[in-house]
Symmetry: C2
Subunit: 184 residues, 2 copies
DNA sequence: GAATATACGGGACGGCCATCCCGCTTGTCT
DNA sequence: AGACAAGCGGGATGGCCGTCCCGTATATTC
């Protein structure tokens, strides 16, 4: 097995991760790895040693954030009325996306295969989402014919990358439209 | 003023345009210009003389297709009940997108600024769409608060680039959802 | 059918970027 | 403190692609 990372390496790794998270969130997936290294104050080699590919770096970033969101989904699934729980999570994802351009890029399939990642990994968005959707459908609150891919596509729509300012009013309208569309 | 193109030049231009249309439709905007030249059986220089940039090539392709769609929109605006006319056009665009990956890329903002093109040019999608939307709203058939950007975003959602097979069933579901969401 | 402008082909160029590598530095362990 | 492995920086490399250029070929015109 591998020994624990040296102290400076741990610091650097954490710093890169943090800077990458901020940068991807603000500027999307198209930002060069060099730039992230520069902002983190490390060499590009340091980034690529910890994260061999750009994809793996983004994945690490996404993982942290998603783990949190998925936990929230579970909490929602426990308590509230099924339909409300579903829309609460959907709305949460929209808010997240509004603040995270990288996530939007991933959802839109620009430079990252979200589907593969979402099904393969520890956090599974699709899974937790699926449960919320299914519960809502069984309770008769949501259209019975909708599936997770539909939901994901609608989410991507709410986060349209071309919308200049993702202003709150537009988000609210989109949410209202989707909500009405998905209610049974 | 410029003289008429030489006969071979006209042929080549037309051929490039046609091949580009097919290629962009089938494989999206990420296909290299070299590849289009190769398939058209011409040199890359020939392509870039007729269309100085890749963007201008795609624009020329898009223009032809859009002109047709916009004409259809006008016809629809003339006849049917306002709400139906709007959804007929929306559905038409979804079908078009299902068969045209390039259009989907443009709508998703991947490598082309659709908004700029759509407002700047002769064909104006936004304009003709706006009229259909407005008529529907005035007739009380559509939500009064929706705007064109919302509609465009919903369309982009219906055409989610990550959906492997844009199967007809999924398209129908998405249309049904959006329809219910937009009806007043 | 010769003269001339027009267009062609496709190689060259330059920019961008992810990834790899290696000489040097710095933490770690005794 | 000294030795050694672990990690660092950032330049080098290679691939991809859009665009430009120019020597050659061909349509047009007289």
């Amino acid at each position: 097995m591998s020994r624990p990372l040296r102290a400076d390496a741990q610091r650097n790794r954490a710093r890169v991760l943090q800077v990458a998270a901020e940068t991807f969130a603000k500027e999307g997936l198209s930002v060069p790895v060099h730039e992230i290294a520069r902002r983190a104050g490390v060499g590009t080699g340091t980034v690529s040693r910890h994260f061999p590919t750009k994809e793996s770096l983004f994945e690490a970033v996404l993982l942290e954030r998603m783990a949190h969101l998925v936990r929230t989904a579970s909490d929602l699934a426990g308590g509230e009325e099924p339909g409300e729980a579903f829309f609460a999570f959907f709305s949460l994802m929209v808010e997240e996306g509004a603040a995270n351009k990288g996530l939007v890029d991933a959802l839109a399939g620009a430079g990252y295969d979200f589907n593969a990642a979402a099904t393969d990994h520890a956090y599974d968005v699709m899974g937790s989402w699926g449960r919320l959707l299914q519960r809502g459908q069984e309770a008769g609150a949501l259209r019975a014919d909708a599936d997770i891919a539909d939901v994901k596509a609608l989410l991507a729509g709410c986060l349209d990358r071309e919308r200049d300012a993702l202003d709150p009013a537009a988000r609210a309208r989109m949410l209202a439209i989707v909500r009405r569309g998905l209610e049974s």
